[in-house]
């Protein structure tokens, strides 16, 4: 049981999950497409590892595996940033609600 097989199976699992979330309208068209493309990329890189090598050489990096690591880090940083922004927005909204309740509940 190679790691490649595990990743391939897991990728299919995630792709299926993305589709089902989209059907249940828990993901928008844009969101679902983006995540779908990302995991298709993972699948692609695992099924055709030499393809990543070619791409890596074209970009001036030694191995496909290195390219994948660099790309992954960049994607992860961006996702963390997006989550941070979202969290901040949620916190601000919570404060607005708490404030509204505080003022409404004020017994004169």
């Amino acid at each position: 049981m190679s790691i490649r097989l595990i990743i391939i199976l897991f990728s299919f699992f995630v792709l299926g999950k993305i589709y089902s979330k989209f059907k249940k309208q828990e993901l928008s068209k844009v969101e679902a497409s983006l995540w779908f493309v990302l995991w298709l990329g993972v699948l692609f890189a695992t099924l055709l590892p030499h393809a990543t090598d070619i791409l890596a050489l074209y970009l001036g990096i030694g191995r496909g595996a290195d390219l994948l690591v660099y790309l992954s880090i960049v994607v992860i940083f961006y996702v963390i940033f997006a989550i941070y922004i979202k969290t901040r927005k949620i916190e601000n909204n919570i404060t607005k609600l708490v404030r509204e309740i505080a003022i409404k509940e004020k017994k004169d």
Binding site: K89, I94, T95, R99, A102, I103
Partner: protein, 227 residues
């Protein structure tokens, strides 16, 4: 002249009662608002019994959020002057008069207290270093020229209070308020105040390390304006 005192409080049942009754005693004409920021103790009850109007945040949101709630409420109730005051007993009630006078006379729109204009406050050494670093940070990165940017004692005219919009729930609101006041071209005055660091209040205060997190947040906010 409707003068409101806004006191944000989180788990200050041991000191808020004394703070409120002292203000009520010296300034019986003032209206006192305590914002109970989701305290798990009896802060709200103690404040109410001491004579304050109490607004309660269901969950803790931070001092900045509590100040905005209190300030917004005071403005809605027709405040002409709003004074921000801490609940931990570090501030001197007598200083309030010196804070409101310049606004009552019509000369100034906002009066800020400063620990550093007089040598009387017994500021703990590490705290002093962090405060001075904060002062430098405010000056260089935010363009705020203030002798004590982190202090929570301020008096605002109605005009000044209406010109600020606190968006930072946490301690970064201090710098935010200053920046907005200076940007609004209001007449601002700093006066020396004395802060009393007791054993009790030192334990309650914010950690000096927190300053880094706040600084980082303020820089981010400057780059990505009000996301």
């Amino acid at each position: 002249m409707n003068i409101f005192i806004v006191i944000p409080a989180y788990n200050e049942e041991l000191s808020v009662g004394k703070v409120v009754s002292e203000i009520a005693r010296v300034y019986p004409e003032f209206k006192i608002i305590v914002v109970d920021d989701g305290s798990s103790d009896l802060t709200g009850k103690v404040a109410r019994e001491a004579g304050a109007m109490v607004l309660r945040h269901m969950v803790n949101r931070g001092q900045g959020a509590a100040l905005k709630t209190g300030t917004d409420y005071a403005l809605a109730k027709g405040a002409d002057i709003i004074v921000h005051f801490d609940a931990d007993g570090q501030f001197d009630t007598q200083d309030i008069r010196a804070m409101t006078e310049p606004i009552l006379s019509g000369e100034y729109d906002a009066v800020l207290g400063s620990r550093f204009l007089s040598k009387e406050s017994n500021i703990p050494f590490l705290r002093k270093i962090v405060l001075l670093a904060g002062k430098f940070f405010n000056k260089v990165f935010l363009g705020v020229k203030s002798s004590d940017p982190q202090i929570g004692l301020r008096a605002l005219s109605k005009k000044a209070a209406e010109s600020i919009a606190i968006s930072h729930d946490d301690m970064a609101h201090c710098s935010e308020i200053l920046e907005q006041l200076y940007k609004s071209n209001l007449k601002i005055r700093e006066i020396p105040v004395v802060i009393n660091y007791t054993e009790y209040s030192r334990k309650r205060g914010q950690s000096s390390l927190n300053a880094f997190a706040i600084a980082f947040k303020l820089i981010l906010n400057k780059i990505f304006k009000n996301y």
